[in-house]
């Protein structure tokens, strides 16, 4: 009995110690690249990380996912170490990271997305809804719509912007109000992905979310017109007319562009550069496309002069900046 428990203790200790021993035994200079990314990038970035690790020996690419604003604040407020930040709304980077003390100096767009509504077979009027009548069905009484908090999450305010654009597009002044009536505060969460289980369990019928999420979670979605779904950078002028009134002020519509930047003062600058290059290159873009994101080739960037030389070659100046 004593021998057995002694053996167990020894086993437990060796299991606890082993990983450290193993990593010490590994060959020259292993490094870890830390990436903070928006929740909706979870699936494509994991694939990207695997590819990156394959191309670069002894490198671990570790990603953490969460709300874009939350991840930015972890760097700016909580001073956590990250090498790269990738957000769902490019404007998050200048808003939070450029402010003094600057945590970033530039950003580059690497993918597009579109706002859509996802639903299941259990959803009300699932058999009826299509790209033409969606705004009428979503306004019907008894329909429960979920969305994320416009005060804290990009997809939240982007949804509201899309609805205000839809008012102009369909020329129905009460459209936004009537649909939002079915998406009260109780149906709101701080990121839209929290509501996917609610959708699958039938608590809500429709969920305002990104098209990439629809594909990744194999959910049915509605193809909203490109003029309102914030997917097309060339429609930026029209998008500006869409407005969301939030606790952070009035936010005006802009194309949904995912952007990435390197965090100032990162110790892994060389590796971070390689990561961005991979993302902006053909392989990275293919991964984004396969996961339902719109490709962004060539990439647009802001403050190109601040970018590393190798990356400058891959980007063009952001139109209008």
């Amino acid at each position: 009995m004593k021998f057995a428990s002694g053996l167990c203790v020894a086993l437990f200790c060796s299991i606890a110690v082993a990983p450290n021993v193993v990593s010490v035994v590994q060959a020259t200079e292993p490094s870890t690249l830390t990436i903070y990314a928006a929740g909706t990038l979870a699936v494509p970035f994991r694939q990207l990380n695997a590819l990156f690790e394959k191309n670069n020996a002894n490198v671990t690419a570790q990603a953490q996912f969460g709300g874009s604003v939350m991840m930015a604040k972890r760097i700016t407020d909580l001073h956590q170490d990250a090498d790269l930040l990738a957000v769902a709304d490019y404007s998050v980077i200048p808003k939070y990271m450029f402010a003094s003390p600057a945590h970033a100096a530039w950003y580059a767009g690497f993918a597009r997305n579109a706002i859509t509504f996802v639903y299941t077979d259990k959803s009300k009027y699932a058999g009826e809804i299509n790209a033409q009548n969606w705004y009428k069905i979503l306004a019907r009484p008894g329909v429960e719509i979920g969305r994320s908090n416009p005060d804290t999450d990009p997809s939240g305010y982007q949804t509201v912007q899309m609805l205000s654009l839809a008012e102009k597009f369909y020329q129905m002044p009460s459209l936004e109000q009537s649909i939002l009536a079915n998406a009260p505060l109780t149906n709101m969460r701080d990121t839209e992905t929290s509501l996917i289980s609610a959708l699958q369990l039938g608590q809500i019928d429709y969920l305002a979310i990104y098209r990439s999420d629809a594909l990744q979670h194999h959910l049915k979605s509605i193809d909203l017109p490109a003029k309102i779904n914030l997917s097309d950078p060339t429609e930026a002028a029209f998008y500006k007319d869409g407005v969301a009134h939030t606790k952070n002020g009035d936010l005006f519509g802009a194309p949904i562009v995912y952007a990435i930047t390197m965090v100032e003062g990162t110790k892994n600058a060389g590796l971070a550069e390689k990561y961005v290059a991979l993302l902006l290159g053909p392989e990275g873009q293919a991964i984004m496309k396969n996961n339902g994101f719109g490709a962004f080739s060539p990439s647009y960037a802001v403050h190109i002069e601040a970018m590393p030389a190798e990356l400058k070659k891959l980007v063009k100046p952001w139109p209008g900046s």
């Binding site: 005060d151 701080d190 609610a198 952070n248």
Partner: protein, 286 residues
Amino acid sequence: MTDVTASRVAPIKGRWQARAAPSRPGTLYLLCWFCGSLLLAFLVIPLIALATHQSAQNLGEVAGIADVRDAIALSLEGAFLSAALAALAGVPLAYVLARTRFPGKGVTAALIDLPLAVPHTVAGIALLMVFGRQGVFGEPLQALVGLKFWGTLAGIVVAMLFVSAPYTVNAARIGFEAVDPRLEQIARTLGLGPWRTFLRITLPLAWHSIMTGVTLTYARSISEFGAVVILVYYPMTAPVKIYELFLRFGLEQAAAAALLLLIVSLGLFVLLRALAQRGVPASGSR
């Protein structure tokens, strides 16, 4: 039923003196104090850091935000209901576990501990499955009584109760097990029926343990985030509000709100402990 009164009433000074005499027990005592202080420091210093991070002005500002006050009040209300339900249903369960033997008792006891091991988000989803719009309880309850759990106080209470009820049951069970069954037998022979025996003898003697469990349930309920947020985001409980403040403003605001919550909670725990003590008899039996 040992004679504890004498030692409890003795002055602290006398206790120290009495124990310092033999040297071996003295070393043990010192070691315990040392280890205990380490743990105490580990628990208290982060809270002090949180407290001293703010200025009193910051704290005042945050206390002035109606949203924050409402969120704290909602948390307290939900936690109170959760603790009350845990007591009402959990204490009888604990009594059965303490007094009876039945097949599958071990499994039942393990099941009661299970919610503590379930990740909070998973717990929330499981509750949504059952109490949601199409849930096995949620659907009939909504149709028959109009009771909804999505985005309501009921949902908050359900999520809080799920993760914190085990504390009440376990503590109450220990309390009941410590009551000598012979005392209950004697009460019966004196003419007290099973109900009176429970209320006049068993419950008062187990009171302190029960209240400790209820306090833990209350505390755990206040702090619950992951399970609550699956069912209820609005209206916001304090943890949800603090998180939202962090997202919108930053560390300062969130920490100030957190500190406010802690101060209010501390006051309540002191009250609850006092309530627990009231039930302790003069003889010092626990």
